[in-house]
């Protein structure tokens, strides 16, 4: 390869790339490998995996298209990018589905081998878009990726099917060349992943390299690109998805509290990865109980908590609905259980692989009786770690169930995470009741929390359950006054958590024309929109709520400092409804329920619309 000439290298500040193909084409793997390598070279990044619920949808269909979008930059970024600069389309369906999202003039790399009459027909193309002028506004790079993959593997012992399956590595290698990334991390990954299948490992390595050198050896590309490392704060980093961060967060809380971790759960998209991660950590003493159903997942967590474990249950919307009654039992028995609900499109089975924020009301109110629980929401993939940790702290300190909301977008998306030092995380103090004298199961401390008296403690034998408790003694009581008192006490206890909720920090001026209030996974898009609007001179500020119940103490005061309030949500206005009833404020809603996160430009346009045609100046 010595005679290959170095191509011109252009420097870019940020790029958005989308890989798209059939759901069996390995696009998620390609995207996550590109992300991991991009993180290692020091760019800031955000990702958006977007895939169908079908594991292997019929080849070539529009509904079977799987995509992975990645935004990387030499500066701090918050979103996976609104409009891709580069699309890698492995077949006509992938081109058709994704074309509308591209920025004008974007680069499209197509696998021409798949643009045959059969695939064009399945994708509902009447004419081949590569042969008419429908792509004239784009820079189209045509590459016979399947043929080149087959050529690279001539003489391989693998079947034709296995050979062509490697073609995603060709695309990956090519993109590594185009954006000047090292291929070594992926080489190492292939060697580990396929160590028991040396023929497949060998094929993937050959094809990866073939793709990389193809860029150099041909004249298809006029330039290569470089995106310089971002100036991130000093420290050790790893690329992390929200689900992995949630798993690490509860495990960190287990280590900091000295309690064994118990996960009672049932597989459900998009939450199952938390189970997968935690089930690996046997040497941390983690018990992962894959229950027979969602109800048993929650019920087993309650049992484990009753016995003194740090108990977790993970789920997504339909599963949270099934856990409803058992969550009420945890409220009544005042046991610490953390439920992580990775929200997806609903109602019913809805859109299992797509994101949404429509379980807020279900989390706050979806139980029989007066049944308050603490509700938190994570804002980014790495924030899932801290919020999962905090959820455990609150549950243990106040003896209460806590629901942590994440969503499909931040759960599957990833970003570089600056790792905390051991001492950055506080110890979690747990006081099991051991003193027999004066023991009452429902006496309360200054936080209104009841004692945790676990089986195995001599002299503390007692009975609790779902029937109403007598204040202090915990005996069954049907007394009307007592019931009123206990309902009030349970509500006051949850409200008491507010003392530990940090004040909201305002992004922007403390007063102005418009306050944008977000919660959960919309943080990145809103932040980018508000920052851009402020640069354009608009008097707009932002707060982001991570504590939904109880709400932060300074929220009301902040709201009153602005003329108008905008609440963008991936639902029909659930937080808006709560803010209206809590603070009597006339909230402007921005709702989106398309199974996709906000693009920052959507929020930005709404801000401009509210603040007037003159850019709000």
């Amino acid at each position: 390869m010595a005679e290959i000439k170095e191509k011109e290298i252009q420097s870019l500040s940020e790029v958005t790339v989308r890989f798209a193909g059939d759901s069996g084409d390995g696009m998620q793997l390609t995207g996550s490998q590109f992300s991991d390598t991009t993180a290692i070279v020091g760019n800031d990044l955000a990702t958006l995996p977007d895939y169908p619920a079908e594991i292997r949808a019929p080849a070539g269909t529009l509904y079977g298209v799987s995509g992975f979008q990645l935004h990387f930059s030499s500066s701090d970024i918050h979103t996976p990018g609104d409009n891709p600069d580069v699309l890698v389309a492995m077949n006509p369906a992938a081109l058709k589905i994704n074309l509308k999202d591209l920025r004008p003039g974007a680069m499209i790399i197509v696998n021409t081998d798949s643009f045959d009459p059969k695939n064009l027909k399945i994708a509902h193309y009447d004419t081949n878009p590569l042969e008419d002028d429908s792509l004239s506004g784009f820079e189209v790079i045509e590459i016979p990726i399947t043929t080149l993959t087959t050529n690279a593997l001539e003489g391989s012992p693998l079947s034709i099917k296995e050979v062509t399956r490697s073609k995603n590595f060709f695309a990956l290698g090519l993109m590594y060349w185009l954006f000047n990334r090292p291929i070594e991390p992926t080489i190492e990954w292939i060697q580990t992943k396929f160590k028991n299948s040396p023929d497949i490992a060998d094929a993937n390595l050959k094809v990866l390299k073939a793709g990389y050198y193809y860029g150099d050896a041909t004249q298809l590309f006029s330039a290569r690109y470089i995106v310089k490392p971002a100036a991130l704060p000093k420290g050790t980093y790893r690329n992390i998805s929200g689900n992995e961060a949630s798993a690490l967060g509860v495990l960190a809380a287990s280590l900091k509290s000295g309690l064994d971790l118990f996960l009672g759960t049932y597989p459900i998209t998009p939450a199952s990865d938390i189970l997968h991660y935690l089930s690996r950590y046997k040497n941390y003493g983690v018990v992962t109980f894959q229950a027979e159903d969602e109800i048993a997942g929650m019920a087993s967590a309650i049992g484990a908590a009753y016995g003194g474990a740090l108990a977790i249950s993970t789920t997504s919307g339909p599963g949270l609905a099934l856990k409803t009654e058992a969550t009420g039992l945890a409220v009544m028995t005042e046991l610490p259980v953390v439920i992580i609900n990775v929200q997806r499109g609903g109602p019913s089975t809805g859109l299992p692989t797509k994101t949404e924020q429509a379980d807020l009301m279900q989390s706050l109110y979806g139980r029989n009786g007066e049944s308050p629980v603490v509700v938190l929401a994570a804002s980014t993939p790495s924030d899932c770690f801290y919020m999962a940790f905090e959820a455990c702290q609150i549950a243990l300190k106040y003896m209460t169930p806590v629901i942590l909301l994440t969503d499909g977008y931040i759960a599957n998306g990833s970003e570089p995470w600056k790792l905390p030092e051991e001492n950055d995380l506080p110890e979690i103090k747990v006081n099991f009741r051991t003193e027999k004298e004066g023991f009452n199961p429902y006496e309360r401390d200054e936080n209104l929390s009841r004692p945790w008296a676990v089986p195995g403690t001599k002299g503390l034998e007692h009975r609790i359950g779902g029937l109403e408790k007598e204040d202090v003694t915990g005996n069954v009581s049907y007394d009307p006054e007592n019931h009123h008192r206990m309902v009030t006490l349970r509500a006051e206890k949850v409200q008491k958590v507010q003392q530990d909720v940090p004040d909201l920090q305002i992004n922007g001026d403390p007063e102005g024309d418009l306050l944008v209030i977000g919660w959960g996974g919309t943080y990145g898009a809103i932040t980018e929109a508000v920052n851009r609007s402020r640069k354009a001179g608009m008097k707009v500020s932002q707060i982001h709520i991570k504590h939904l119940n109880p709400l932060p103490a300074n929220l009301g005061k902040i709201i009153k400092s602005f003329k108008q309030v905008l609440v963008p949500e991936l639902n029909m206005g659930q937080l808006a409804y709560i803010l209206r009833s809590e603070y009597f404020v006339d909230v402007i809603k921005l709702s989106k329920v398309k199974g996709l996160p906000f693009k920052s430009v959507e929020v930005q346009n709404k801000i401009a619309e509210i603040l007037g045609g003159n850019n709000g100046k």
Partner: protein
């Protein structure tokens, strides 16, 4: 949580039945069969060799599920049908505890059916006492999943049209490792079954025929009345021939794939023709055949241990894996946890 096995050391002070009474007023209807079950448990527990503070009773919803309130052990009154799931979480996370489930035919066979079969499948080390009165008592008299077909109740005024579960057969089918049956009106027998369940490691299921004198009075009259009991009840005893009858002259013969009643004194018959009960039989077929004698008008109803089998439990499996990896990799630390995978430095 250092000790992960049940502490069966010699107890220092000998406890009595009274030590297991919580002192709460027992609120079952006067004459209810549940009183006997409570009494037999309280009488047996001082001798099962487990410290009181390590015993937990978990229940669901129904008359039976008030049971934990009356025992001076740890107790958890759960929600309808979920007792096996709550108990499974407790036992998996805390294998040092002896966990007992008090439940009924509605609670366990209907709303909790799924949890029950999976508990058995996993061989979760729980002791499950199912009070079977073949009726919904607490909701005042609807037919239950163990009510006989044609049962006239408030919800089936013209007779039920669906078929009942045979709980013993269901437990056997779900691979419970200890399956037994007893009667509320046979205290000695019930005590023996409870002791045997306590001694078993793995899912132990005891179906207890229990009379609801308000909504289903006399459901088991033939099996408990002194006059009829000898003819209608077959006592299963390990290693002994299956003999019954007032004169102990009737035996159960295995004839091909059929169980038949023979008189051992008639014709060529002898005691040698009678099936000898083997509760440890590795083949479950005979246990199923015995289970299906229930409610067969031509055969007596068996009580006793249908099947007993030893195999590793769920919590054993889980904690063995944990010990294995802790020995191999060392106990995990926070630093190892966070700084794993592909990390890089920003300087």
């Amino acid at each position: 949580m250092e000790n992960k096995t049940i502490d069966t050391q010699e107890l220092q002070v000998k406890l009595t039945a009274k030590d297991f009474s919580s002192g709460q007023d027992v609120r079952w209807c006067p004459g209810c069969g549940d009183y006997s079950i409570l009494a037999q448990v309280q009488r047996t527990f001082p001798d099962i060799g487990i410290k009181k503070e390590n015993i937990v009773w978990v229940s669901g919803i129904g008359c039976s599920s008030r049971f934990p309130y009356y025992m001076d052990t740890f107790g958890f009154h759960g929600i309808h049908g979920r007792a096996p799931a709550i108990a499974s979480g407790l036992k998996s996370a805390h294998p040092e505890l002896s966990v007992w489930v008090a439940t009924g035919d509605g609670d366990l066979m209907s709303i909790g059916g799924n949890h029950f079969i999976h508990t058995c499948r996993k061989n979760m080390d729980l002791k499950i006492l199912m009070f079977n009165n073949r009726i919904y008592g607490l909701t005042k008299g609807q037919y239950s999943p163990t009510s006989e077909k044609g049962k006239v109740t408030k919800s089936t005024p013209f007779g039920s049209v669906d078929y009942p579960f045979n709980p013993v057969s269901l437990a056997l089918g779900a691979e419970a490792t200890f399956v037994a049956r007893s009667l509320d009106r046979d205290p000695k027998h019930m005590q023996e079954m409870i002791r045997k369940a306590a001694a078993h490691t793995g899912t132990a299921f005891i179906e207890i025929f229990q009379n609801c004198n308000i909504f289903n009075d006399g459901a088991f009259e033939l099996l408990t009345n002194k006059e009829t009991k000898p003819e209608y009840v077959l006592q299963l005893e390990h290693g002994k021939p299956l003999i019954f009858g007032v004169h102990r002259d009737k035996g159960i013969k295995l004839d091909g794939f059929e169980l038949k009643v023979i008189n051992i004194n008639e014709g060529d018959n002898s005691i040698n023709d009678v099936l000898v009960h083997d509760e440890e039989d590795s083949n479950p077929i005979r246990a199923f055949m015995l289970a299906h004698m229930t409610d067969n008008p031509d055969l007596p109803t068996p009580v006793g241990v249908f099947r007993r089998k030893l195999k590793p439990t769920y919590d054993e499996g889980v904690w063995n894996q944990i010990s294995h990896f802790q020995a191999k990799k060392g106990k995990g630390t926070l630093k190892d946890l966070l700084y794993s995978g592909n990390t890089w430095e920003v300087k």
